[in-house]
Symmetry: C2
Amino acid sequence: CSLTEKLPNASPPNIIIMLMDDMGWGDLGVFGQPSKETPNLDAMAAQGMLLPNFYTANPLCSPSRAALLTGRLPVRNGFYTTNGHAKNAYTPQEIVGGISKDEILLPQMLKKKGYVSKIVGKWHLGHRPQYLPLKNGFDEWFGAPNCHFGPYNGSIRPNIPVYNNSEMLGRYYEEFTINRKTGESNLTQIYLMEGLDFILRQTKDRRPFFLYWAPDATHAPVYASKRFLGKSQRGRYGDAVMELDYSVGQILSWLRTFSIENNTFVFFTSDNGAALMSGPKGGGSNGPFLCGKQTTFEGGMREPAIAWWPGHIKEGSVNFQLANVMDLFTTSLALAGINPPDDRILDGLDLTPVLLNRPHTLQSRPIFYYRGNELMAVRLGQYKAHYWTWTNSWEELKNGINFCPGQEVPDVTTHEQKEHTQQPIIFHLGQDPGEKFPISVLTKEYQNVLSMISPVVEQYKKTMVPGIPQLNMCDMAVMNWAPAGCEKLGKCLKAPKSEPWKCDWPH
Amino acid sequence: CSLTEKLPNASPPNIIIMLMDDMGWGDLGVFGQPSKETPNLDAMAAQGMLLPNFYTANPLCSPSRAALLTGRLPVRNGFYTTNGHAKNAYTPQEIVGGISKDEILLPQMLKKKGYVSKIVGKWHLGHRPQYLPLKNGFDEWFGAPNCHFGPYNGSIRPNIPVYNNSEMLGRYYEEFTINRKTGESNLTQIYLMEGLDFILRQTKDRRPFFLYWAPDATHAPVYASKRFLGKSQRGRYGDAVMELDYSVGQILSWLRTFSIENNTFVFFTSDNGAALMSGPKGGGSNGPFLCGKQTTFEGGMREPAIAWWPGHIKEGSVNFQLANVMDLFTTSLALAGINPPDDRILDGLDLTPVLLNRPHTLQSRPIFYYRGNELMAVRLGQYKAHYWTWTNSWEELKNGINFCPGQEVPDVTTHEQKEHTQQPIIFHLGQDPGEKFPISVLTKEYQNVLSMISPVVEQYKKTMVPGIPQLNMCDMAVMNWAPAGCEKLGKCLKAPKSEPWKCDWPH
Ligand SMILES: [Ca+2]
Ligand SMILES: [Ca+2]
């Protein structure tokens, strides 16, 4: 790796990836949130680099997180479904599958240089024993395998367990309370403490560490601790953002306390766009972008992104490089001085030349927008071509589920899966970030763009070999009935008989 | 004035108001513009105070500027029309009227403490001799009385003159070129030089100064100088923003060069929301807000705002105080230690307690949204009540004029003037900055808000005495045919016979 040769210090930097859950691009002050709830993140941007063109690999939690940790598109690493066309799949309690043993995760790679790795918060790559973090390269874990939906009564569904390493400590709504009425929960504070403690221990032991800090307070049902409830100008969601922002500030401040800020690379982002169907009171903001979570419009996949590494990344810089979560895999390896796996295709690129302001040739890299197993759109430079458009079905819409409330764009936010492969809908995202004004097919601009993008897409499709889909089967028997450690706590529940079925992914 | 008593230094601060033209809230990086064209403004915010709840007094140039310089609503200072209900009026070339001699303008007041005042750029308070800046308190002027529409051939309409003080120096598209095809013009650079030169001279002479810096590069037809053309990611509009941002940076840097930054109060804002009807290539961004210029939705009247005064205003602060351009009149007087006029109602409040972080009672002040002579909406706290809704007529819409392209909200962005005085449409702007989700009239929240806002509005309406409307009459004979100084230049044109008519304001 060329980078390590150039690094004056041989000791590889610590790596912290802060991954928010359903937080939108427009939820950060520095990205235009009028309620300005993020002084610490805004300061982080002022001390680091802002990446306004940063993307997720899929507009939903599980595939996005699988992509981050493998450096590979969900369609390659198996985090998708073939049960339906262009349907998003994830890992609810009833999912049978999880991250394939054939995948190599970032913490597994980082071990080669002696990194100690911890995940704090939501895992979401499968909750059955073989899929859990400590079986997949992490040395420590504090958090939960699934979302914090609930409460459940334990008969039809168990509540989600909270793990400390490989054993459960209790369950959401039981030992780890979330008050659905008031929105009060101190989980973010717990996740903060877990992160700080891990940093402290590794710093003492002088071991390089990887902290994957993945709190989920901005995922419905949104929560915040008492100190933050009612503090923002936009309700509970803003309160949750304020608490996460506070926690980010505490973590960065902690690094300075131990004088390891110059040796710790920190990256802040989110797993998918804000969920707009929660309505004005429950969900976040995608700023000027169209629609939200679940969709392949910008609101579903453009993510807030800040890179921070004092003394290495130029403070107050903005870089328009097109980048995505999978690059974090490759970039982390480069920072650690580890060669990436050479037995598989990686979709992530090494962003270190961008971050460290060195010459590079990454300008022409495309961004691929997937929904389930379908390549819905491609961005190249300022242009984005939609080959398929879909928000959700008319039936869902009639039932009040709307991924683009108040934002319908005729023939763009379609309620049937609409194919445009022969004549993609093309937007100039610089001039039209909201994807409201398709470029007329009659213009020279359209023809030029098409002739630029088409060969890239054709070449890509020709070489794309999908992995084995891991998210096709569901079974009530696989739920979190009796996670490891439940005996000690007297919290084991009886699983029903196994009756697997093909999961039905509605959108 | 209480402020001056507390100021350690008796010499009043210099005042610079930077007023942009049609620049939107969402055009600043710090307010979420994805193209991030404003490193200097973002730095200005980091060194000063950001005011996310700052408003104009009217969604159109002339009334907004009249309000700023008089501290009074257009309906009081006469910058409105009674030719039609809720129609916006301004000062095109054919306008007969201008700022009334009964109004007192900020530079007239500032003279009391020896301030020297200059306006650089667009005036727009009437172009007939008696209405020009040097007849209304300014000591110097470099710029134009109207917008830079054109080019005209001089027979039906003359091109707009550019004045140096009280004499014209030439005309737009003639001596002061704007290339309509390429968008190239060095006007912003000229306006920058004029500003810097003025600051230099007053600093040398040790005189307090007021600089009203009002460039118009972001008003259609948008222009930028060669150095900036093609530099932004969103076309010519972004190029213009980059050049204005560069100029702001140069002015602030100039203040530091002369070590007068601690004695110079600088305020940056815009006269109205971005004009969306120019389409994706020509206009700016109003961020998350609804519609744009000409409308009383947030996109028409919420303005970017930064206050900067090193050593006095806390750096990197954000203040959610509801404020508006008329406050700049009253605040400037407070800073200068001058008592405001006591023979008239002022709508502007003294913001110095907000800016200087002192105790105050400004929290409950309302914001009034006018369109022409009609109070369309009122904001109190986080709530906004619409008493009238209108974008523009169906007829205009059919002709392609759209103030809310891609943003129609049913029953909100109405194409007829719709009255809701008995049951206003109410939004919570914290939770719903985009005014997309009216609060249901059946809720307790709605009733609570109504009972809070109604008495405020009733009291306000009871005491409101409109001024004499100045923008009712038009006449081709009053155009800029033969501005002062035209003889010297041989650029006098022959005016047609006077045939006044009642101006027709379409929206
Ligand atoms: Ca998520
Ligand atoms: Ca304007």
